[in-house]
Amino acid sequence: MIWLPSLIKACYFLAALLFILGLKRMSSPRTARGGIVWAGYGMLVAVLATFFLPDMHNRGLIIAAVLIGVGAAWWSGKRVAMTAMPQMVALYNGMGGGAAAAIGAVELIGYVRHGLLAQGIPDTSPLRPEAWAIDALHPIVTVVALSPIELALGVLGALIGAVSFSGSLIAFSKLQGWLDKRFVFPAQRAVNLLLLAATVVIGILLASGYASYLLIAAFFVLALLFGLMMTLPIGGADMPVVISLYNAFTGLAVAFEGFVLGNETMIIAGTVVGAAGTLLTQLMAKAMNRSIGNVLFGSFGASGAEAQAIDGAQKPIDAADAAVMMAYAERVVIVPGYGMAVAQAQHKVWEFAQLLIKRGVKVKFAIHPVAGRMPGHMNVLLAEAGVPYDLIADMDEINPEFPATDVALVIGANDVVNPLAKTDPASPIYGMPILDVSNAKHVIVVKRGKGTGFAGIENALFYADNTRMLYGDGQAAAGELVSELKSMDA
């Protein structure tokens, strides 16, 4: 079986190649679907090869854990609704971070155990309290298996992985609606900074050989706590950026742990994801006109300045009038937001748009870069309803067309059409590029009630003279519009 290690190495090489080619194919709409399949084969090859590595123990446990993990994730991934995709990505990403942290923990514990054994300390079961504090302040001289660089990167990977794990779980809970309050208290930033500093100091101690079970436990508790505390104050509207950032984090953690384990495929795949994720995070933050630092550390919506008071009242319209208005319009632009997706209204909205098209109305869908919960999320949801690409326009393309638009129909979008982003420097979203729907001749806003949007900011658009409010759930409102149009034709 002398050829086995080479065969396994070849499998790892093939996996790395398939990952890169797969990602490359995923970056173009035509080849995207094949891309994920290629990457999937890469994963399969790598996992199978790993199973045949020489001197692996606990194969039964490995099989059991793989089966349970794959089964649970497959089942949940197949069942989840398209609107809930962002939080599922957060959840699976957090699991990856947790796995990287677990690798780091196993390596560190093994390191301490071997070190203590080498010093002639026989029973070092970490579950026995007297073993915990042994040599807390003495470096383990006999380095077993891990070089200083490996130790340092292993600790760093564990730190990043643990932060990504607990942070992603918070992001998941927020988007899932389990945690709808932002958790803010005075001196939060200072507390978080202290937490991070303490974690890093312990990490440095661990990396320089001053390892003990107690230190390892403290390190992971602090790292997990930091991920938690860092994510809690961030508002739901910023979660996409945060998820993308944690995605990059997990990639890096995987790369570092790959170095510790001497696995090149992990290094390559992890680094590619780390770099790609970092760039993606920047693109997202830019689309919201904010820096990543601002997202992480600026408490969104908590600015002290008083926002402009808005004069006037919201003016309602009923479905029949709205339908007539659009039926006799020349150009209609539909601006969908996350609210449309939550109400599962995209199919009804597309049906309505098709009826308009049949009457000769020119219909377009305008999509803001951060509509939905991730860039491109709204495109996915419209694609699910069957809306063709050529009717979907992005912000730069559609903004010049609004003055020539008769009716702009806003469904479930709020902050991305708020003119205050241009006019009110005190507004938390000031400076964010928006869709200029208020330039259209008439604006119809479908909205559930009079409350503020996801970010909790008043919207001046709703009070504008050319705006009419069509109150109701997105799905119900779109259904009414459809039946009104049909009755006009009958």
């Binding site: 993990g69 991934g77 677990a102 992990m266 390559i268």
Partner: protein, 104 residues
């Protein structure tokens, strides 16, 4: 084990690769691509399997077990979700042509 500088070269080249892949991607593919890259770092499963395969004490074994569990979840969940998203891109293509012809 890998030579430190060799690893540094791998880091550098892989980082450029990741950057280049994302740099020219249309916005509509950002979400699927984020999900796809989320799947790719599911390779952490391999590392977790190695860690569990070399674990000796009950503590190491239980942490390793959790690691493999989480890693398998990352890989499988990432794949299913990405595949479902991209599936819709494919199915909307022929529809798109048919509908735009209808519209004309």
């Amino acid at each position: 084990m890998i030579d430190g500088f060799l690893a540094l070269y791998i880091f550098m080249l892989a980082a450029f690769t990741g950057y280049e892949i994302i740099a020219r991607v249309p916005v509509i593919l950002h979400t699927p691509l984020m999900s796809g890259s989320n799947f790719v770092h599911g390779i952490v499963l391999v590392g977790a399997m190695i860690a569990l395969g070399h674990a000796e004490t009950p503590l190491e074994m239980s942490i390793g077990f959790i690691g493999v569990l989480l890693g398998a979840g990352n890989a499988a969940g990432g794949y299913v979700v990405t595949e479902r998203m991209l599936e819709m891109f494919k199915s909307s293509k022929p529809d798109a042509k048919a509908v735009s012809k209808e519209a004309k």
